[in-house]
Point group: C2
Chain length 240, copies 2
């Protein structure tokens, strides 16, 4: 796959940078063998003129050849855990670290995606098909060389496993921060609402959370720092 | 964005291919000026040894520089039209032509996506959120340099326009093949079923199709050949 193409300007800049190196080398060799500055400079000069153009054409030709070009192996990093367990914070930090490495990355956040599709409900079947649709999107991006960082409460094991089966390199990160800690944080005030009975199917209070059976990572943000957690995730994803 | 990285093998192959060209040039220049074969070959030989390695390192260095590397400008090519209007055939052909150019492309077909999400219904609201979800996926792929070819009946103008607003370069292709022609083809036997009253909301028979107001292209597959149609679409998308 030949996704990147190089501009003619890039080829010209490379030709010049190489010429500087190359002509100095040639002139030095000629001088070493003849002791004549004039001959060494004449050969150097002629080489300079002839080879700058030659190099440029050589670059343009190689730009058409895909041999030895490769996409990095991306992955789908899936954060699952209770509301308040640290999914959004951690996933945003991981996304920005991957982007800093010059790799393509997309962050899909539960709240963000739901805001775009407000008619998505919270019954088991609605949650499941929501997660499977997000998984489909993630798998397509991954197949085109894009890292996907997904942060979804995703309480049901079956839905998470069906996303796993769609992706090539799936990393399930279970944020195991205890319910009491999440409830104490209650960033969005949702636990308070749920306790008052205002949210009918609130995970951890009035709806089940199925703990991952074989997650690639388990992180309790009450125990380890965000920085340490980010490091663990990047190492698991092979991003150095 | 530095998506592609070059392998060390590619750099080595380029170094050798360039060296062949470069050393022949240098030896010729030296011979022209001195008339001495032995000197010309000595200089050429030394240059061969010193510069092959030098060139390799020069390549490795440039692989880290992103200057002049660019993604092609992709687009979302959206085929809309009645069942039997030629969406699947035409979109498959367009996809394969784009892939042949070495560009990244993803084909999203209505039947294929519905097969993955069988609980997607056919009411206006279900159709609309289905199309908007597909549009979201298409826009994400486009943003990462992937051409998207989408073939969806997508009968409602508002849903198509909302996809348009999500994408950067949206090409709406209206397959205007007349209902009578589509019904005569009836590849899937759906029109017969609909006429017998077995399909409650079948577009063209028992449900409306809202003709695009300002499509980028209008193609009647009853009048022009698939090959001609493909050519038109590729030209509109700027794929040469």
């Amino acid at each position: 796959m030949n996704q990147f193409r190089e501009s003619a300007g890039r080829s010209a800049a490379k030709a010049l940078s190489w010429r500087l190196l190359g002509t100095v080398t040639t002139s030095t060799i000629v001088f070493m063998f003849t002791g004549k500055w004039s001959l060494s400079l004449t050969v150097g000069g002629l080489e300079l003129v002839s080879k700058t153009g030659l190099f440029w054409f050589h670059e343009r030709l190689w730009d058409r050849l895909t041999y030895g070009r490769r996409l990095p192996q991306p992955s789908v990093i899936w954060f699952t855990g209770l509301s308040g367990s640290g999914k959004s914070t951690l996933s945003a930090a991981v996304t920005s670290e991957i982007a800093k490495k010059g790799l393509r990355v997309e962050h899909l956040d539960g709240d963000g995606v739901r805001a775009l599709f407000p008619d998505t409900g919270f019954t088991k079947s609605e949650r499941d098909s929501h997660i499977r649709r997000v998984g489909f999107l993630a798998s397509k991006l991954e197949r085109h060389g894009v890292f996907v960082v997904a942060s979804f409460l995703s309480p049901y094991r079956e839905a998470r496993d069906s996303v796993r089966s769609m992706c090539q390199h799936f990393i399930e990160v279970h944020l195991s921060t205890p319910l009491e800690v999440c409830e104490r944080r209650d960033v969005k005030g949702l636990y308070a609402k749920a306790r008052r009975g205002e949210l009918p199917a609130f995970t951890g209070v009035s709806d089940a959370y199925e703990i991952p059976a074989r997650p690639e990572l388990v992180i309790d943000t009450d125990v380890i720092s965000i920085a340490k957690a980010v490091e663990k995730v990047l190492m698991e994803a092979g991003v150095k």
